[in-house]
């Protein structure tokens, strides 16, 4: 959330016509870089690992369900692991060498590829001068910012996962409405 916050501050801050400032600290190249590492890492893990699972027999053999629901199961397992939750649909047999390895790796990346950059951001921000507040400063403590943050999370999140999800749960839903199952 913090990294999305930094991204929001950066884009919105630019629109106000100032170097973006969050909590009185300037958001510069280093913070943006770290924030983006923390955003890319889980996206990469979820999408690429799911893709590997889809392409390999080891990944596909665990599926109890065919069709779009099978894809949903794989995506869910990796999304959950990357978010350090670690659950999976009942339809997916997670206790195989392949899934134990891949989900474990997803968990590691999902944890440390976020923690480390965020700590790096904190470290860099501590060393910066606090910029005083003025009427020209972009406020980060009002409804406006919250709405913007939600919009960015949804749009950027959606843009990342929409194609994959459309082949999984979305098409499943539409097929179900059409009365077809697998």
């Amino acid at each position: 959330m913090l990294v999305f916050g930094i991204r929001t501050v950066f884009i919105a801050g630019l629109m106000v016509g100032r170097t973006p400032v969050y909590l009185g600290k300037k958001i510069e190249a280093f913070e943006v870089k770290m924030a983006m590492v923390a955003v890319i890492a889980p996206s990469f893990t979820i999408l690429v690992f799911s893709a590997i699972a889809c392409m390999t027999n080891a990944g596909l053999s665990s599926l109890a369900n065919k069709g779009p629901h099978g894809l949903s199961e794989i995506l869910y397992a990796f999304a959950s692991a990357a978010a350090n939750n670690g659950s999976a649909f009942a339809g997916l047999n997670g206790n195989t060498v392949f899934y134990n390895m891949m989900l474990g790796l997803a968990m590691l990346i999902g944890r440390f590829a976020i923690i480390v950059p965020v700590l790096a951001i904190a470290g860099s921000m501590v060393g910066k001068k606090t910029a005083p507040f003025s009427a020209g400063t972009f406020q980060t403590d009002n409804v406006m910012f919250v709405a913007l943050l939600i919009a960015i999370v949804i749009i950027v999140g959606a843009l990342t996962f929409f194609p994959a999800l459309s082949l999984g749960p979305l098409v499943e839903h539409l097929l179900m409405l059409a009365g077809r199952g697998f």
Binding site: L71, P163, L175
Partner: protein
Amino acid sequence: MNMKRKTTKLFDKAIASRALADAFVKLDPRLEVKNPVMFVVFLGAILTSIVVIGELLAGKFVGFNIQIMIWLWLTVLFANFAEAVAEGRGKAQADSLRKMRTKTMARRLVDDREEKVTAAELKIDDMVICEAGDIIPGDGEVIEGIASVDESAITGESAPVIRESGGDRSAVTSGTRVLSDKIIIRITSEAGNTFLDRMIAMVEGARRRKTPNEIALSILLIALTAIFIIVVISLLPFDIYSEKAAGMLAPSALTLPILVSLLVCLAPTTIGGLLSAIGISGMDRMIQRNVLAVSGRAVEAAGDIDVLLLDKTGTITLGNRMATEFIPAASVNVERLADAAQLASLADETPEGRSIVVLAKERFGLRGRDIKELQARFVPFSAQTQMSGVDIPAVDGRPARSIRKGSLESIRKYLAESGATDQASSMDMNVALMIGTDIAMAGGTPLLVVENLELLGIIQLKDVVKGGIKERFEQLRAMGIRTVMITGDNPFTAASIAAEAGVDDFIAQATPETKLQCIREEQAQGRLVAMIGDGTNDAPALAQADVGVAMNSGTQAAREAGNMVDLDSNPTKLIEIVEIGKQLLMTRGALTTFSIANDVAKYFAILPALFSTLYAVAGGVGPLAALNIMKLTSPQSAILSAVIFNALIIIALVPLALRGIKYRPLGANAILIRNLMIYGVGGFIVPFIGIKLIDILIVALKLV
């Protein structure tokens, strides 16, 4: 060349045709790789071309892939064109500047003899003579004489300016022409490193480096592109899985051109293609306003300014304080005061001094007298004594006269130190203090005149606050910028003018040290400070400030210390500089938002097209066709429309990138809401309409 009249049209014919050619030159991979987002598009275009060539060699003619290929190349070219147009405007200026830098001959002085050398041979500390009609061969300082100089080559201002030895108007610039009189110049910079050379390098963008914000934004754009590469690549296995699950036997619908199209549409190409054009045009806008910035970083910093330090004189007020009244002491005849004041001011070449001479002449018919005949010795104004005056020795039976004029403080000190504190004079001094305070409260400046330690009276000087300046300060306040007036005046005068002009704060009786101190204090609190100045004594403060704007009419030291030079020497320019800086950041932010918001519509165009046949019942469309909310004609028309829209939007936004989005002096939240509405919500809606229209058009033209 006249910069004032240079093209304000966005698309000058010559520039556009040159930019068109440059757009192809920029296809050089070594140049493309500098812009990672467009480099991805560039690689995509190459990959698609390979596919198309392969098809053609195999004797297959796939019109759809060929069209995709054409539009991908156009996307790259459009982005190159945008950058070339922005650069072209600078290049055109550089060319005309270079023409001016002809092989000027210099008349170098060696041991009082003159010798002719080319300007390129001049070294630092060489002395050269320039007479009426000569072109000044190098940057330097006038060390002898006074001349009127035509600086229109540099500033575009046709009115000649005065350059004289000593004082704050001694700097001359190479390439300018002496119109009258004769001056001796000490060269201060070598050929190749003169102001003119730097100006050419500047407008050509030869030394253009990415600014901090530009780097941060580039990282964001690269990361977004990386995410979309992951999305597109991972989509292929998902699709193969789904097609298998759906029992489709035909090869995947996801051909390489289609995947590339998806990636190009999703990647932030709009902002990626226009980013460098925005930066270059920001610099260009500065130059159009006759401000020369040392770096893009300085332009950007201008947008972040929290505090503006403004010299009162010339910025807030019209500048020249004029004598408006002689107020004699009780026992003194007003003509005697005027006479003494005039004598003391004869050698005083400041506008104030001249106005005293003129006022005495107008009121009492007193003429300027021959200084030599009086054998007068002038006491010039010094920062220590804050006084100036004249000593006239006793000649031909006339008594010796020692006249001093200065501020209340300085004269009181002068009288006290001279021991002239008898009852009468201290009473006069008290009255003078009262009158002086009154004058100061009203925004004027009292100048006391004493002769032979006798207080004669007060000259009232007045300065007029510029019209409309109050409104500008209100705008600045709305922008969140605090204005601080700096003046050497006493606190009363300062307070009165500060109130009249509506500045937030003022510093009275400022010395160069207090200016520097003030800037350091503000910076210590984390604020960014801009300051404007012209004199050598401003140089430390100009160097310390985050944005230091030096006047072109100022001294060489000041011009070296600042990171911008205002060629018009107009102090109010600082406000415009701040606006340009803000505009630059806002344009980038707005186009980034626009670019990201665009993606939503592109998804709704491309995804249903890709998967429309997935899980389809024989003969019908698949369930994901429900996502085709734009009701685009066919999968192919949908993908092509999205790619065409993506390319055309770059061209459509070039004028916006060059001009910058409109800046209004409002608070941060008001600006944010406004820009979000236009570029966020607008960026969300526009592609839906645009893609639909292109779809209708290409179907009507039977392109797919």
